[in-house]
């Protein structure tokens, strides 16, 4: 199994996060609608909701890798460096996209 995939599985493996994943997933289509409306010029200030949604989803997704990366035990896994680099790339990509948006 791919390391990134193994880490994304935490979102449903941890019960609290399973609830949050379902919750944020359920309102994703509303957020998408906001983006489409704002992009077509029908609604002013429509990007506030997607940005807020992205911030919350980002916080949830990031908190688990951070929790794991702070455990000394994790640092001994053979390919941990590979995963840390992937997480860093994803986080910076997310930050850049948010800033551009």
């Amino acid at each position: 199994m791919n390391i990134l995939r193994a880490n994304l599985k935490h979102l449903y493996q941890r019960r609290t996060y399973l609830f949050l994943t379902i919750f944020f997933g359920a309102i994703a289509f509303l957020v998408l609608e906001e983006i489409i409306e704002a992009a077509s010029g029908n609604k002013q200030g429509g990007f506030v909701a997607p940005v807020l949604w992205m911030f919350l989803v980002g916080s949830v997704v990031v908190s688990l890798p951070l929790e794991i990366l702070t455990k000394p035990y994790f640092l001994l896994f053979a390919r941990t460096q590979e995963y840390t680099e992937t997480v860093c790339v994803l986080h910076w990509t997310g930050i850049v996209i948010s800033l551009v948006a």
């Binding site: 193994a6 035990y73 640092l75 001994l76 896994f77 053979a78 390919r79 941990t80 460096q81």
Partner: protein, 295 residues
């Protein structure tokens, strides 16, 4: 002198935490295939030494090479050869045992699924339980499975049995013996439950206040210190028996229990004959040896 066969080489390694000198100028070679008992009281520096070996702590001074690489720069290749069971039993509590095994196995190309299945069966591990709800014994079994599942050449056990009750500890040791017999691994066991450790080790490392007091084979340690009982064949024994180099000598009526160091059994037998006594040698348990060396 650096040993070609050593998988861990420490030279003049020191580590300090504030005012506490956790490691003080340590030189150490760990050779392939050794089963090492790392002994010492709390705060002796055992865990620090183990963490320097695997790169979790960096030495303030000196050099530590593990598998020929600076311990602070261990890459996937070296880490894939090291299994570590830590004192705190730190695992990901929210996962089920099965999920945790799958998660950890994702980090290792060499994960042995057959070995995993065998240990799950042998250890009697329940895969569906949440890790956070496991008993200390079950938790330790999972930690060991995760540490050996990829077939590490160096297995480091930091107080592996400290959380276990006597029965679970005994089962754990049986299991450890099984692991040792099956594979030719280098194992370092840190513990202060000495009666347990002595069943499995062939080498001893004794630490005190960050320094290594003794680094020798268990057999040579047992040969160095001898305890024997003298039984007089004609009444009371004199209070002074004349064992000038005795570490301890307790005389009680016609019997005496004496501990000596570096004295050949032949010499002791001759001396017993002179005193008109019967002599009976008893091997010293590791706990006694440890007390003598530390004191």
């Amino acid at each position: 002198m650096i040993n070609d066969k050593a998988i861990v080489e420490m030279r003049n390694v020191s580590k300090r935490f504030g005012r506490i000198q956790a490691m003080d100028n340590i030189d150490l070679d760990i050779r392939r295939g050794e089963i090492i008992g790392l002994l010492g009281s709390n705060g002796a520096g055992k865990s620090t030494l183990l963490r320097v070996i695997i790169g979790l702590y960096l030495a303030d001074q000196g050099r530590c090479d593990t598998f020929g690489t600076d311990a602070g720069k261990l890459g996937p290749k070296e880490l894939g050869r090291i299994g570590y069971v830590h004192q705190e039993g730190e695992l990901l509590d929210w996962m089920s045992v099965k999920q945790l095994i799958r998660y950890v196995s994702a980090y290792y190309d060499t994960w042995d699924h057959q070995l995993e299945e065998r240990y799950i069966k042998d250890f009697d591990i329940s895969l569906d339980d949440r890790v956070g709800s496991l008993s200390p014994g079950q938790r330790q079994k999972v930690a060991i499975l995760l540490a050996i599942g990829f077939g590490p050449e160096l297995l480091i056990l930091d107080e592996p049995a400290s959380a276990l009750d006597p029965i679970a500890r005994s089962r754990f040791l049986d299991l450890l013996l099984q692991i040792i017999q099956q594979e030719n691994r280098t194992i370092i066991i840190s513990s202060h439950i000495l009666s347990d450790v002595e069943k499995v080790i062939d080498h001893t490392l004794i630490m005190r206040s960050g320094a290594i007091l003794r680094d020798c084979s268990f057999d040579s340690l047992r040969e160095e210190f001898v305890r024997f009982t003298l039984t007089s064949l004609n009444g009371q024994l004199p209070s002074e028996l004349g064992f000038g180099d005795a570490i301890s000598c307790d005389v009680s009526g016609s019997k005496a229990v004496v501990t000596v160091r570096n004295t050949a059994e032949k010499i002791l037998e001759d001396k017993a004959r002179d005193l008109n006594c019967e002599i009976e040698f008893r091997p010293l348990p590791l706990e006694e040896l440890y007390k003598i060396i530390v004191s």
